[in-house]
Assembly symmetry: C2
Homo-oligomer: 396 residues x 2
């Protein structure tokens, strides 16, 4: 083999891009039809969707006054399974299972907790892989660009259907935090409190740049086929592109220090003969995370949600940040992760400053961590008391 | 056009991947044959090259004792043109033109300054685009993996040819700093002093990860053609892959703060109708840097030099960092850039600590900058006195 040539494909076991649609959804997943049968869902960017279903999960019991509901908003590649075990159709336990449950920070003995898959998603809510009402074929590249505000409006429809006029709290990290702050701006009388973790009032140019390179990694994969890859069989679809996008993301989700501590310069292959594709451990780790995402996530959803993230700007059409923030009337908790290189502490300080200057009630907490942006999915020992204390105060 | 589909190719003006070989080299570029005519160049990773030419430039005058020579080592996509104007065959002025020249920090009234293109490069020194001696066709994927140590040995051969037994100083930033420290370890009696900027004793897992995703961006471009793309015409070659690699790099070469200050959320396209490929200014900036590199750089060189960077480890085969550092006998200057997210200050502190513990004479300076790793190519006002002072002290 010539020195630069790649070894045989190490990723043969990735199933078809339609894998996330194969099989029955987990029994605990519920669905609400938000649009359909002639009722259309208008989108912020223009156009509309003729059918919208929202997949969600819930934990705990709604009280008689519907006053104890908490909305948890998921991040880019998350889904409605915020808590609970893994099971058929759900490869991993809930992404915040350490924080949501009886006696936990978001205490399901006290709160009724709801989490819904975002619009454009691939875990039950209508997205690019969903059947187009016109022909029953997946939308593919016909799926429109949706915004965080569009997702929030699907969640408001869900709240209506569940009989929840006002959330005790809306909570989210990262893109979930973008939803949380849009909730507080769009529906100030429906949000009792807001918890905003490792997020921002708008996407920064650095975030937009990372989003762009991830999107390019996908569309430059010839198997992306202009977004219409759903009929390709096993091994079809832009897995290599999506894996590359995930590797890129995984690198800026963490930090120099965390990788240095964890991997150093260990290798999984022998490195003494200097081949281009012999791997250090960090490379094998990135391969693993790329494969894992490619098995559970739709590349078109990745494109659509990244663009929604780029377009996040609470000031858009509202006369700027200050005017938007002035609409917020609830108490807020803003949380930073000290080593976050993607949603940097600069951005949470900006949100905190805007809330303070608007005269809102706001707390600021920093999670001291080497785990970078992913700290909000890892540092449960620190998040538990921070969230628990704030929510307990709101409930009083 | 469907919402997700890409607009027509915006990058039609990128010439063939062989463009860097088209036309005559600049008149100021000189060449030395290091191997050839039966004299082979053995490589650290095994194997050898039958022919090696080294392209270099020089400024100032070597004194009678050959005691005033300074070797400047370039970074990943740099070349021998460290100083001087642009001209035919050289699109930009020297990458350190602000620091090298009469009366400047590296004062050519005092020093004879040399800079050579690295082994595996694409700016005159033998690399993947060079003709293979067997058939006169470009090496392409036949080019071997080379190491920083291999490059240093080409530079030692150049020093021999120029009559320089001992450099007054070896200076480098980033990958150039990897060469500088290898010089001090490999040839302690030939290095009078060492300046090491924004570099490291070994590549960190974060650096290796970024290197890997850049390499994948190239080889996943179908036009890479297993590295044998040199016969493709205009528009041939893995430009899109190389552009993606460069966009990725450009993002971690800078910082959140510098992009926020420079671009904010400005856009070059109208964003009100939410199309996937309408661009914020940061996206257009990344396109520009991608195109610029694709016009002047060879994708295979990018692969080879990134791997050389990953393999950089002064302790390899020497019993660890401490044993390697113990060989260094010259005074050193170690420089950090405060916001460097790629070669983080952690790494320069590690080098400084190792040198200090070995009893070496070492200074440490920090460049306060928001420009990230690229600070060493931008913050001349701060670098000028730091380098000037150190070199003046060595010359006394």
């Amino acid at each position: 083999m010539s020195p630069l040539a790649q070894p045989e494909n190490r990723f043969d076991d990735i199933p078809s891009s339609g894998a996330w649609r194969v099989g029955d959804p987990p029994a605990w997943r519920q669905f609400l039809r938000v649009a359909g049968e002639g009722r259309r869902f208008a989108l912020e960017g223009g156009g509309c969707l003729d059918e919208v279903d929202v997949a969600y999960e819930s934990w705990g019991t709604l009280d008689a006054e519907a006053s104890n509901a908490v909305l948890v908003c998921h991040a880019l590649t998350g889904d409605a399974h915020a808590a609970g075990p893994s099971g058929p159709g759900q490869a991993a336990a809930g992404w915040w299972d350490d924080l949501i449950g009886p006696g936990k920070a978001i205490d399901t003995d006290q709160f009724y907790v709801v989490c819904a898959n975002v619009l454009g998603g691939c875990q039950g809510t209508t997205g690019p892989a969903s059947p187009h009402p016109d022909d029953g074929e997946p939308y593919g590249s016909r799926f429109p660009i949706v915004s965080v505000r569009d997702t929030v409006r699907t969640q408001a429809a869900l709240a209506d259907a569940l009989g929840i006029r006002r959330w005790a709290a809306v909570v989210g990290g990262s893109v979930g935090g973008m939803q949380a702050i849009e909730w507080a701006v769009m529906y100030p009388d429906r949000v009792g409190s807001m918890i905003n973790i490792a997020s921002a009032v708008s996407a920064s140019p650095l975030q937009i740049g990372w989003s762009m390179v991830g999107r390019l990694a996908i569309v430059q994969d010839p198997k992306w086929s202009d977004g219409n890859y759903y009929d390709q069989g096993i091994g079809g679809g832009p897995h290599l592109g999506l894996m590359l996008a995930r590797r890129i993301a995984q690198l800026h989700y963490r930090s120099d220090q965390s990788f240095a501590d964890r991997f150093g310069r260990s290798s999984v292959d022998r490195l003494d003969s200097f081949n281009l594709w012999d791997r250090f451990q960090i490379e094998s780790y990135l391969d693993h995370h790329g494969q894992k995402l490619a098995k559970r996530f739709d590349a078109n959803t990745y494109l659509v949600l990244n663009k929604a993230m780029d377009l996040h700007d609470i000031g858009r059409g509202r006369g700027g940040y200050e005017a938007a923030i002035a609409r917020i009337s609830c108490p807020s908790l803003v949380v930073s992760v000290s080593s976050d290189a993607l949603y940097t502490p600069r951005q949470q300080r900006e949100l905190h400053k805007l809330l303070t200057e608007a005269g809102a009630e706001v707390c600021f907490e920093t999670i001291e961590s080497d785990h970078g942006h992913d700290g909000f999915l890892i540092e449960f020992d620190q998040l538990e008391p921070v969230l628990g204390k704030f929510l307990a105060k709101q409930a009083r």
